[in-house]
C-alpha cells in the first residue's frame, strides 16, 4: 500500500480504490494515502474531490482538516492553519495565484471511491 505511486505518463490513468463512500464525512474532509502521496478527500454537495493534503503555506499535512465552503462561486477548502483558500477543482490558492496544490481525478463507482494514480497536470486543468 505504501509503495511509491507509478509516475508513468499514459493517456489513460490507472484508477486505484482508496476507500468506501461511507468512510467519507458529508460536508467535510478525510486524509488518505495514495502510494507515497497524502491526499485530502472532500465529500461535498457537488461531488467528491481530491487535492494534496500538504499545505504549502504552513508546511504541514493538514488540508483534509479544513472547512469546506464556497468563496466567490468557487468550491474551496480553508487551511486550518493560516486560513488560505484552495480551490477543490484546480488546487489553486486564491490568496496567492502562484501557489497550487496537486489535484487528482476522482471516480465514485457504486460504494467505491477511486483516484487516478497520478495528479492532474496544470495544463489539463486550464483546458
Amino acid at each position: 500500500m505504501n509503495s511509491p505511486a507509478a509516475r508513468v505518463v499514459s493517456a489513460e490513468p490507472a484508477w486505484r480504490g482508496v476507500c468506501r463512500l461511507s468512510d467519507l464525512v458529508p460536508g467535510s474532509g478525510v486524509a488518505a494515502r495514495l502510494g507515497s502521496d497524502q491526499v485530502a478527500l472532500f465529500h461535498t454537495p457537488e461531488g467528491v474531490f481530491a487535492i494534496g493534503n500538504f499545505d504549502p503555506c504552513s508546511g504541514a499535512n493538514v488540508l483534509s482538516r479544513g472547512i469546506v465552503g464556497d468563496l466567490d462561486g468557487r468550491l474551496v477548502v480553508a487551511s486550518p492553519v493560516y486560513k488560505q483558500h484552495f480551490c477543490l477543482r484546480t488546487g489553486e490558492c486564491l490568496e496567492d495565484p502562484g501557489v497550487r496544490v496537486p489535484t487528482w481525478p476522482v471516480q465514485v463507482a457504486g460504494e467505491d471511491v477511486l483516484l487516478a494514480d497520478q495528479p492532474q497536470s496544470a495544463a489539463a486543468l486550464e483546458r
Binding site: 505504501n2 460536508g27 486524509a31 508546511g59 504541514a60 472547512i67 469546506v68 474551496v76 492553519v81
Partner: protein, 848 residues
C-alpha cells in the same frame, strides 16, 4: 555583448534590499556581492530577539539559495580590502579580485567604542553582528552583572539582551537623560522610571574614565564621581560609518566621516555609489533602516533607467518598544523650531507621557514625544508629515481614548500621504489597489506590501480601504459573510426563535450558497449556545474548526495539544502524577499555562483518543482550550491558607468553572477569583473577575489581557454567593446573545450604546425584562453539560474521525521531532530535511 558588471560591497539589510529592488526591476547587470560575515543578510533590527529565543534562521533575510536562483555571485566570508579606481577592480582579503563597471558601497557602520583606557579588556564587547551575540552569550556565562555604555536606542536594546541573559543590568549614559536624540527631558525621565521598574539600573551623567580590575566583579568602571563593578561591559554608544575603503581609494568624505553622496547616491567617483549608514547625504548620516531602504530603492531605480529616481532625505520619526516600554518620537521632538508651542499630558499613575510641538500659529503639528503609550503615533505622524490642519484643541489628540477624542478621518489625508513607511506605500497607492479589485486586507497586502513588514500601519490601512470602498459605493455591512445577510446577533435570534437545530436548516431558511469557514464555525457556536448538542454530531461535524473537530489545539506542525480541565487550578498529587505519566508515555512536550493548567503538546490525531481514555479514567474532563468557550477560572489560594484571604476563592473558582464549563460563546472567556483585595489571581484582567470583600464579592467585567490589555470594570459590589452567580448567569447569556462573531467582552462592551451604565441597567435592574429568560437559558446549558471527551471515546462513529488516514492506520511520518532542554520540539525545516535525508527509515519507524 557582455553584461555590465556591478559589484556590491556589503550584504547587510540595506545591501540586501538593494539587490531585491534590482531583481524586482529586472536589472541588466552581472552582479557580484562581497559579504564579510559568514552568513548573508539578516535582520539586525531584531538582533535582541536572539536572546529571547529567535534563531539565526528566524533573523535571516535571505539565503544562499536565493543568490543561486537570482544568478548573483556571492563572495561570502571575505572582506573587500581594496578598491582600485583606475583599473576598476575590488580585491578581497583572501585574494579574490573582481572587476566592475559600477560599484556600490553598502558597508554600513561599526559600533563606536569611546577611547577609554581598559576598553580593550576581556568581556568588553560590542553589539552589532551575530558573531557579537555569540561572544556576549559566552561572556555572560561567567558573569553576574552587565553594564551597557550608552543610553540611546541601541544601548537600551543591548540592555534588553543582557536582561534576557539573566544578568543584573546597568545602563551608563554620558548625557543627563536617556534617548536624548528622540525624547525631551520629561519623556526621558519617565522612560527611566519605567525601565528601572523592570529591574534595569540607570546611571545618567556618567562619563567612564577608565576600566580596571574589580573587587567583586571582573571589572570596575571608574567615573568622575563614583564607580560601578560589573563582569561584562557592552559598548553601544553610537555608530560610525565604515568608510575606510572609500578613504583609502580617495573618495570624498565628510569632515566627521561618511562617504559623500548626491541625490542619486553617487559618490565623488561617478562609477561608485554608496547607500545606507556609510553614506553622507547633505551632511547627514541616517542611522535607521527605513532611509537606507529608500536609498536602496532610489539607486536601484536609477541604475535600471529611471531618470527621476532620487533620494530626498527621510523622516527620522520612530516608534518602538524598548524593554517592553512603548516609545515614539516624531519630527521636531525638542521644539527647536523658532516660535513653536507645546502642550503635554503626563499621567504618572498610568506611566504615560505625551507631548505635542505645534507651529507658532497653532495650525500644524511639528513634532511629538510619546512614552508609555504610542497608540496615537500613526495619526500624529500623518498630521505632521502631511501638514493637516490641527483641531482647535490639539491636546484632545493625545487624550486617552473615549469621548471627545477627534478621530483623524482618513479622508483628511492627501493621496501622497505615506501610510506604510517600511514599503513606501501611499494612500493613493492603496486607493488605486482597492479600485483595482483588492477589497480585503489580505489582497491589499499582497498587492501593495502595505503593513507586510512591521504591521504598525495595519489599522490605518484598513481605514483607508474601508473609506475607499465606501466612497466607491460598496456597502460595508455587519453581515456575517456572503452566505448570510444577517449579523451574528440576528442569526442568534433566528436560531432561537425559530428553534433551528442545524446549519442546513438555517442556510435553507435564511442564507445562500454552501457556507464558508467564517459562517460555519459561527453558526456551530450559536447552535451550541442555544441547544448544547454534541459538537461532533454528524450534522455539526463539518462546521467546526479543526480544534473543535478534534477537541484539541492544532499546532504549527499538524499535531495537537491537550489541556485537561483543572478547575480553579486545584489538583491532587495523584492527578498531577497521571498527567506526568501520560506525558511520558506519549512523549508530550509539557508546559504550564497562564491559566493554572498543564498543556501537553505534540500529540498526533490518532493518539488523542488513547490519551483521553487514560485521562478520563483518572477523572479528568475536557478543558475546552480548543473552543470558543470558558477556558479557566484562575484563583489564588484564598482564606483557607492565606493569612490575608477573606473568602474561599478556590471554592468559588471551582464552583464557577464547573458551572460554566463547555458553554460555547462568541469568543473565549476567562475568569478569575481573588480571595482579597491584593488580587493575586489578576481577576481585573479577565472577562469576569471576582474579588472577595469582607461582606461578599465584588464583580468586575469585560477585562482582558493579550494584545490590547484592558482592565475590567467594577460592575457590582458586596454580592452574596447566590446573587453573584445569578448576575454572572445573566451577564454571560446577554453577551452570548448580542456580541459579534469573535468579539471579546471588552470590545463588545466598548461597542454597546450606553456603555457600562446600560449594561448594569439590563443585568442588575432588568430594564429590558429579560433577566428571568437569561437565567433559565443559562440553567438549561448548565443542566445539559456533558464532557465532550468522555462522550467521544464511547462513540465508535466519532472515533473514526481520529484515524490518521482513511486507508492506513500508520501516522504521518512527516511530523518529526528533535530534543531540546530535555523535551521534544517540532524539527525546523532544515533539521527535518537532514533527518529524513540521512535516516529516512529510522524516522519512519520512530514516528509510526
Amino acid at each position: 555583448m557582455n553584461k555590465p558588471r556591478l559589484v556590491v560591497i556589503g550584504n547587510g539589510m540595506v545591501g540586501q534590499r538593494f539587490l531585491e529592488e534590482m531583481v524586482e526591476r529586472g536589472h541588466p547587470y552581472e552582479i557580484t556581492v562581497f559579504c564579510e560575515e559568514p552568513v548573508p543578510a539578516y535582520d539586525r533590527v531584531q538582533l535582541s530577539s536572539w536572546f529571547s529565543g529567535a534563531t539565526a534562521d528566524d533573523l535571516a533575510l535571505t539565503s544562499m539559495a536565493w543568490f543561486r536562483e537570482q544568478g548573483i555571485k556571492l563572495v561570502i566570508g571575505e572582506e573587500a580590502t581594496c578598491i582600485d579606481r583606475e583599473r576598476r577592480e575590488v580585491t578581497g582579503s583572501r585574494g579574490t579580485v573582481v572587476a566592475y563597471d559600477e560599484l556600490v558601497l553598502a558597508t554600513g557602520s561599526y559600533p563606536f567604542v569611546p577611547p577609554i583606557p581598559g576598553s580593550e579588556r576581556e568581556a568588553c564587547l560590542v553589539y552589532r553582528t551575530l558573531e557579537d551575540l555569540g561572544a556576549i552569550q559566552a561572556a555572560a556565562q561567567t558573569s553576574r552583572v552587565g553594564a551597557v555604555v550608552g543610553g540611546g536606542l541601541l544601548g537600551l536594546e543591548a540592555a534588553k539582551a543582557l536582561q534576557d541573559l539573566g544578568l543584573e543590568t546597568h545602563v551608563v549614559e554620558f548625557a543627563p537623560q536617556l534617548m536624548g536624540v528622540q525624547l525631551d527631558g520629561p519623556g526621558g525621565a519617565l522612560l527611566r522610571r519605567k525601565i528601572e521598574e523592570l529591574g534595569v539600573q540607570v546611571h545618567t551623567g556618567k562619563a567612564t574614565q577608565h576600566i580596571e580590575d574589580g573587587a567583586d566583579c571582573r571589572h570596575r568602571m571608574v567615573f568622575a564621581d563614583g564607580e560601578l563593578e560589573t563582569d561584562l561591559v557592552l559598548f553601544s554608544a553610537g555608530i560610525r560609518p565604515r568608510d575606510a575603503l572609500a578613504r583609502d581609494c580617495g573618495l570624498l568624505l565628510g569632515e566627521r566621516g561618511g562617504v559623500v553622496i548626491d541625490d542619486r547616491c553617487r559618490t565623488s567617483d561617478p562609477a561608485i555609489y554608496a547607500i545606507g549608514e556609510v553614506a553622507l547625504w547633505q551632511q547627514r548620516i541616517f542611522g535607521l533602516v527605513a532611509p537606507g531602504y529608500d536609498m536602496a530603492r532610489q539607486l536601484a531605480a536609477g541604475l535600471c533607467g529611471d531618470a527621476d529616481a532620487a533620494f530626498r532625505g527621510a523622516d527620522m520619526s520612530t516608534k518602538l518598544k524598548l524593554l517592553g516600554v512603548e516609545v515614539g518620537s516624531i519630527g521636531d521632538a525638542h521644539g527647536r523650531t523658532p516660535g513653536s508651542h507645546s502642550c503635554s499630558l503626563e499621567d504618572s499613575v498610568a506611566g504615560v507621557y505625551k507631548k505635542l510641538v505645534i507651529s507658532e500659529d497653532g495650525s500644524r503639528l511639528l513634532g511629538a514625544v510619546l512614552v508609555g503609550d504610542t497608540g496615537d503615533y500613526g495619526s500624529l505622524l500623518q498630521y505632521c508629515l502631511n501638514g493637516i490642519d490641527l483641531p482647535p484643541a490639539p491636546l484632545s489628540l493625545i487624550l486617552p481614548a473615549g469621548e471627545g477624542k477627534p478621530a483623524l478621518g482618513v479622508d483628511a489625508l492627501p493621496d501622497s500621504a505615506q501610510i506604510c513607511s517600511c514599503n513606501n506605500v501611499s494612500k493613493g497607492d492603496l486607493c488605486a489597489a482597492v479600485s483595482g479589485g483588492c477589497t480585503t486586507i489580505g489582497a491589499l497586502k499582497a498587492e501593495t506590501r502595505a503593513s507586510a513588514t512591521c504591521g504598525g500601519c495595519s489599522t490605518l490601512v484598513k481605514q483607508v480601504m474601508d473609506a475607499e470602498l465606501k466612497r466607491q459605493g460598496v456597502e460595508v455591512t455587519n453581515h456575517l459573510c456572503a452566505h448570510f445577510p444577517y449579523s451574528r446577533q440576528e442569526l442568534y435570534h433566528l436560531v432561537r426563535v425559530n428553534e433551528l437545530r442545524s446549519f442546513d436548516a438555517l442556510l435553507q431558511a435564511h442564507g445562500s450558497g454552501l457556507g464558508c469557514e467564517i459562517c460555519k464555525p459561527a453558526v456551530a457556536s450559536i447552535l451550541a449556545s442555544c441547544w448544547n448538542d454534541y459538537v461532533l454530531d454528524p450534522r455539526h461535524v463539518g462546521l467546526q474548526d479543526t480544534n473543535d473537530n478534534f477537541l484539541a489545539n492544532l499546532q504549527k506542525d499538524g499535531s495537537y495539544s491537550v489541556v485537561p480541565r483543572v478547575p480553579g487550578g486545584e489538583i491532587t498529587p495523584e492527578k498531577l502524577c497521571v498527567l506526568g505519566e501520560v506525558a511520558q508515555r506519549y512523549d508530550l512536550y509539557t508546559k504550564i499555562t497562564g491559566g493554572q493548567r498543564i498543556d501537553l503538546f505534540g500529540a498526533r490525531v490518532e493518539q488523542l483518543p488513547a490519551i483521553w481514555r487514560e485521562l478520563v479514567d483518572a477523572g479528568f474532563e475536557s478543558g475546552h482550550a480548543y473552543g470558543k468557550a470558558l477556558r479557566t477560572v484562575k484563583s489564588c489560594v484564598g482564606s483557607t491558607w492565606c493569612r490575608y484571604g477573606v473568602q474561599d476563592s478556590v471554592g468559588m473558582a471551582i464552583f464557577l468553572e464547573e458551572r460554566y464549563r463547555g458553554i460555547r460563546s462568541p469568543h473565549k472567556l476567562k475568569m478569575a477569583v481573588s480571595g482579597c483585595t491584593r488580587e493575586c489571581a489578576e481577576a481585573q484582567g479577565k472577562d469576569v473577575g471576582v474579588i472577595a470583600t469582607e461582606k461578599g464579592w465584588n464583580l468586575y467585567v469585560c477585562g482582558n489581557g493579550g494584545m490590547r490589555p484592558r482592565h475590567a470594570e467594577l460592575f457590582a459590589s458586596d454580592l452574596d454567593d447566590a446573587t453573584l452567580v445569578r448576575t454572572i448567569d445573566r451577564f454571560l447569556m446577554f453577551y452570548i446573545a448580542t456580541a459579534d462573531r469573535l468579539q471579546r467582552t471588552s470590545v463588545w462592551r466598548d461597542n454597546l450604546e450606553g456603555g457600562l451604565a446600560y449594561l448594569q441597567a439590563v443585568i442588575l435592574e432588568d430594564s429590558l425584562g429579560i433577566a428571568a429568560e437569561l437565567e433559565s437559558q443559562m440553567q438549561a446549558l448548565v443542566d445539559s453539560y456533558v464532557c465532550e471527551w468522555k462522550r467521544t471515546i464511547e462513540d465508535p462513529e466519532a472515533l473514526k474521525r481520529f484515524r490518521p488516514f482513511v486507508n492506513d492506520e500508520r501516522g504521518d511520518e512527516q511530523i518529526v521531532y528533535v530534543r531540546e532542554r530535555g523535551q521534544k520540539r517540532p524539527a525546523r525545516p532544515e533539521e527535518k530535511a537532514e533527518v529524513t535525508a540521512h535516516e529516512p527509515q529510522r524516522v519512519l519507524e520512530e514516528t509510526l
